[in-house]
C-alpha cells in the first residue's frame, strides 16, 4: 500500500482515453526485451504497476492465509478426531463396564448369602470396582465433551438407580428373601431399558463426530487455492512482460514458484494425512469399536446366563436373549479373542444342559466356580482380552492422529510465512520495474 502511494506520478501522464487506441493497435504484439516499458509515456504505467502489485500481493497473502487456514483446520480437525475417538472409546467403556457390573451382580446373586465368604468378598469387590469405574468414566466423559453433558447426567441418574436396586437385591438375598431376585432382575431390566439407550445415543453421536473429524484433510482445496494463486501470478507476469519487454519478472516468478512448491507439499501432506485417517478409521478405530461392542455383548450374555439361574425355570425367557448377544460377539470379535469366547460358550452349554433338566446344583456350580471348571474364568479371559484389544487399537488411533496433526500445524505456519515471503518477492519484483520506469 505504501509503495503505491509513494510512487511518483509521471510528469506527462496521458488521459486513459488517449492510451486506448495505441494499445489496441499493438494487440498480439510481443515486445522485444529492451527493459523499457512499451508505450511509455502513453499509458499509465505506475498506476498499472500499483494495480499489479496490489493484485499480486493480495493474491499471495490470501493464498498464504487461506492455505494456512485449511491446514490449521486440518490440524484442529485431527486434534478433535483424537479427542472424539477418546470420548467414543470412553463411552463404550462405560457401556461394557456397566454390563460387566451387571454380569458380576447377577452372578453374585447365585452365591446367595451362604456361599464361600472369600468368593463373595472378591466378587463384591469386583462389582464395587466396576461401578466406581463407571461413575469415574461418566465424570471424565462429561468434562471431555460438553455436548454429551445432558445425556451423561441422565445416565448418571440411571446408573445410580441401578446401583441402588442392586444394593437392595444384595441385602434381601443375603436374608434369602425372594424379593431380592425381583430387585436384581428389575435393576437389570431397567439398566437395559433406561441406561443402555442413552449409551447407544452417546456411542452413535461420538462415532459420527470422530468420523467427521477424521475427514478434516482437504488436499483438493489446497490444490485449488494454489492453482488460483499461481494462475493470478502468471497473469501478472504476462502483463508485466508485455509492458516491459522482459520475459520474466524475478520477484513474481519467485512468488509463483513458492506458491507452487508450497501447494504441492501441502497437498501431498494433506493427502497422506487423509489416507492415514482413512486407514485408522477402517482398521484401528473400527477394531476398537468392534471389540468394545463384542465385550459389551459378551457381558450382556453373561448376565443373561446368571439371570436364567437366578429366576429358576426362566431358561426359555433368557436363553434367546443370551443367543442374541452371543451372535453380536461372534459378528464383531476379533479372531484372536474368539478362542476365549468359544471356551466360555462350551461352559455355558454345560450350564444350559443341566438347567434344562433342572439339575440345579450342577448348573449353579458351573455358573459360579471361579476355577477352570466354571464359566467365570473363560469369560473373564475373554473380557480382559477384548478390553486389551480395545485399549491397544484406541491408543494407536489417538497417537497417530496426534502425531500426524503436528505436520499440519507446522505446514500451516510455514505457509503463512511463505505467503508473506511471496508478497515481499512480488513487491520487490514490481519495485524493480517501477525503478526501471522512473
Amino acid at each position: 500500500v505504501t509503495q503505491s502511494a509513494a510512487a511518483p506520478p509521471p510528469a506527462t501522464q496521458p488521459a486513459p482515453a488517449q492510451a486506448a487506441p495505441p494499445a489496441k493497435a499493438r494487440r498480439g504484439f510481443w515486445p522485444a526485451p529492451t527493459g523499457k516499458p512499451v508505450g511509455a509515456g502513453v499509458e499509465n504505467t505506475p498506476a498499472l504497476l500499483n494495480r499489479l502489485q496490489i493484485i499480486g500481493v493480495t493474491t499471495v497473502l490470501l493464498f498464504g492465509l487461506a492455505s494456512a487456514l485449511v491446514q490449521f483446520l486440518s490440524y484442529q480437525s485431527d486434534g478433535r478426531a483424537a479427542d472424539d475417538t477418546e470420548q467414543l472409546v470412553r463411552v463404550q467403556e462405560i457401556q461394557s463396564t456397566l454390563l460387566r457390573a451387571d454380569a458380576i451382580a447377577t452372578n453374585l446373586a447365585l452365591l446367595g448369602g451362604s456361599g464361600d465368604p472369600q468368593q463373595i468378598a472378591d466378587r463384591d469387590a469386583d462389582y464395587d470396582t466396576a461401578i466406581a469405574d463407571v461413575f469415574t468414566l461418566i465424570a471424565q466423559a462429561a468434562e471431555a465433551q460438553p455436548a454429551d453433558e445432558e445425556a451423561l447426567s441422565a445416565l448418571n441418574v440411571a446408573v445410580s438407580e441401578y446401583a441402588t436396586a442392586i444394593a437392595e437385591a444384595r441385602s434381601n438375598l443375603r436374608q434369602n428373601f425372594p424379593v431380592g431376585k425381583e430387585y436384581l432382575s428389575g435393576g437389570s431390566s431397567a439398566l437395559r431399558s433406561d441406561a443402555l439407550p442413552i449409551l447407544e445415543n452417546l456411542v452413535t453421536a461420538n462415532s459420527e463426530r470422530a468420523e467427521d473429524s477424521m475427514n478434516g484433510q482437504h488436499p483438493f482445496w489446497l490444490l485449488l487455492l494454489g492453482a488460483l494463486a499461481f494462475g493470478v501470478l502468471i497473469w501478472v507476469s504476462l502483463v508485466l512482460a508485455r509492458r516491459f519487454r522482459r520475459y520474466v519478472n524475478t520477484g513474481v516468478a519467485v512468488a509463483a514458484v513458492l506458491v507452487l512448491v508450497t501447494t504441492l507439499v501441502a497437498a501431498i501432506a494433506a493427502w497422506r494425512g487423509d489416507s492415514q485417517n482413512d486407514g485408522l478409521l477402517d482398521n484401528e478405530l473400527r477394531s476398537a469399536v468392534d471389540q468394545a461392542e463384542a465385550r459389551t455383548a459378551g457381558n450382556d450374555a453373561k448376565a443373561y446366563e446368571s439371570l436364567r439361574l437366578v429366576k429358576r425355570g426362566s431358561g426359555t425367557t433368557y436363553e434367546p436373549l443370551w443367543q442374541e448377544s452371543a451372535d453380536v460377539v461372534v459378528d464383531n470379535a476379533d479372531p484372536s479373542i474368539l478362542r476365549e469366547w468359544e471356551a466360555y460358550v462350551a461352559k455355558h452349554k454345560q450350564i444350559v444342559r443341566n438347567d434344562d433338566q433342572d439339575f440345579r446344583q450342577p448348573a449353579l456350580r458351573v455358573a459360579t466356580a471361579d476355577d477352570g471348571t466354571g464359566s467365570n474364568k473363560p469369560f473373564s479371559d475373554f473380557d480382559t482380552a477384548a478390553q486389551d484389544l480395545v485399549d491397544e487399537n484406541a491408543r494407536t488411533t489417538t497417537d497417530q492422529l496426534r502425531a500426524g496433526r503436528a505436520v499440519a500445524l507446522v505446514g500451516s505456519i510455514l505457509t503463512l510465512l511463505i505467503g508473506l515471503l511471496a508478497a515481499v518477492a512480488v513487491v520487490r519484483g514490481i519495485g524493480a520495474r517501477r525503478r526501471e520506469y522512473s
Binding site: 483446520l73 460438553p146 441422565a154 425381583e182 426362566s314 446344583q361
Partner: protein, 329 residues
C-alpha cells in the same frame, strides 16, 4: 489490503467456529407405556353347570390306572410349581436351593403315595419351575403330570383341564404398612377396601385382583406392577401404600418385610385352590383326591402351621382347616 484483512477476519471466525459447535447428544425418547391385558387362559369354558369345586370321587386309593402306571414306569412324578412365591413354593439357598413351601408339601405327599416306601424326593419327584401362564398349556401338552401353583378352580379352566378337590381356600386380601394396623385410630387403620380411598394400591398388571379392588373402592389409586414381588419392591420404596392379592401370596410378601402386615379382614373374593391335572388323566385326579383325604387333619394342619399360619393367623383364632371336598363329576 483492507479487503484482505476483512477476508482474514472472516476466515479466523470460521476457524474459531469450526473448533466448537457440536450438537448435543440426544436423549432417548420415553417409550410409551403399554397397557397389558390378561387373556383368559382357557378359551373353552366348562358350561355344564357343574359346581366348579366339584371333582372326581377319590376311589379306594389303589394307585393304578393308565397315567399312574405311566408315572411309575417313568420313575418320576413331574409337577409344575413356582419357585418365587415365598411360603408357598420358593428356593431355599441354605438347603442347596431346594424348593419348599406349602404347595410343595402336597407334591411330596402325592409322590410318596404313588411310589410307596421307596419314595425318594430327589429321584422320584421332579419339580419343574413354571410361570403362571404356562400352567394350562404345559398340562394340556402332557409335559407335566400335575400343577400345584396357586391355581384357582373355576369353570373357565375346567374346560381345558381337570382339578383335584379344593386343598386350600384362599381369598383376595389387602396388605398394608404396619402403621395402618397398629391399633392407632388417629393414624388410620385398615378394615375394609373403603379405607383405601386416596391410597396407592398395587396389584399385578391385568390381574383379576386389580379389577376387584378397583370395583371395591373407586377412589383407590391403582399402581400396577409386573407381579406381586414387583409390588413389594414398590411398597418398600414407598411408591405404594398397599398391595392386594391372594392371602397366600400376601403372606409370603409380609414374611419378607417386618413393616408389612395382612390385617384381619373379610376377603374380597373366594379363591379355591386345586391341583391341576390333564383332562384325560382322571385316574390321577382320583388318586390325588384320595391323597388329599389322607392328609386331612394331621398333615394338612402341619403344613398350614409351618408355612402360612404365622403370617395369616398369628393369633391362631381363625379356625382355618382343610376345605371339605365336593365330588360328583
Amino acid at each position: 489490503m483492507s479487503v484482505a484483512m476483512r477476508l482474514a477476519a472472516v476466515a479466523l471466525a470460521a476457524a474459531f467456529l469450526a473448533g466448537c459447535g457440536y450438537e448435543d447428544t440426544p436423549l432417548p425418547e420415553e417409550p410409551e407405556a403399554s397397557a397389558a391385558t390378561s387373556a383368559p387362559d382357557c378359551e373353552t369354558p366348562d358350561e355344564s353347570g357343574t359346581d366348579p369345586v366339584a371333582s372326581y370321587d377319590p376311589g379306594d386309593g389303589v394307585p393304578t390306572g393308565p397315567k399312574l402306571d405311566e408315572i411309575r414306569s417313568r420313575g418320576r412324578l413331574i409337577v409344575g410349581v413356582s419357585a418365587d412365591t415365598y411360603l408357598m413354593a420358593s428356593e431355599n439357598p441354605e438347603l442347596g436351593n431346594r424348593i419348599e413351601g406349602f404347595d410343595i408339601e402336597f407334591a411330596r405327599e402325592i409322590g410318596s403315595a404313588i411310589f410307596g416306601a421307596g419314595f425318594n424326593a430327589g429321584r422320584n419327584l421332579e419339580l419343574r419351575v413354571i410361570t403362571a401362564s404356562q400352567r394350562i398349556p404345559l398340562l394340556s401338552a402332557g409335559e407335566l403330570d400335575l400343577v400345584i401353583r396357586n391355581f384357582t378352580i373355576n369353570s373357565q379352566r375346567w374346560g381345558c383341564i381337570a382339578f383335584s378337590a379344593e386343598y386350600y381356600h384362599s381369598g383376595q386380601k389387602v396388605l398394608v404398612g404396619s402403621s395402618l394396623a397398629d391399633g392407632d385410630e388417629e393414624n388410620g387403620e385398615y378394615r375394609d377396601p373403603s379405607d383405601l380411598a386416596g391410597l396407592r394400591v398395587c396389584a399385578p398388571t391385568g390381574s383379576t385382583s386389580l379389577v376387584n379392588i378397583r370395583d371395591a373402592e373407586q377412589d383407590a389409586k391403582i399402581e400396577p406392577a409386573a407381579n406381586h414381588t414387583g409390588c413389594l419392591v414398590k411398597f418398600q420404596r414407598g411408591e405404594v401404600d398397599a398391595i392386594t392379592g391372594d392371602d397366600t401370596v400376601l403372606a409370603g410378601l409380609a414374611a419378607q418385610d417386618p413393616y408389612a402386615v395382612v390385617p384381619e379382614q373379610e376377603p374380597l373374593s373366594d379363591e379355591p385352590y386345586g391341583i391341576g391335572v390333564n383332562q384325560e388323566d382322571i385316574d390321577l385326579v382320583r388318586f390325588v383326591n384320595y391323597v388329599l383325604e389322607e392328609m386331612r387333619d394331621e398333615k394338612w394342619e402341619a403344613a398350614y402351621e409351618r408355612w402360612l399360619r404365622p403370617v395369616l393367623d398369628p393369633e391362631g383364632d381363625d379356625n382355618v382347616s382343610q376345605p371339605t371336598p365336593t365330588y360328583g363329576r
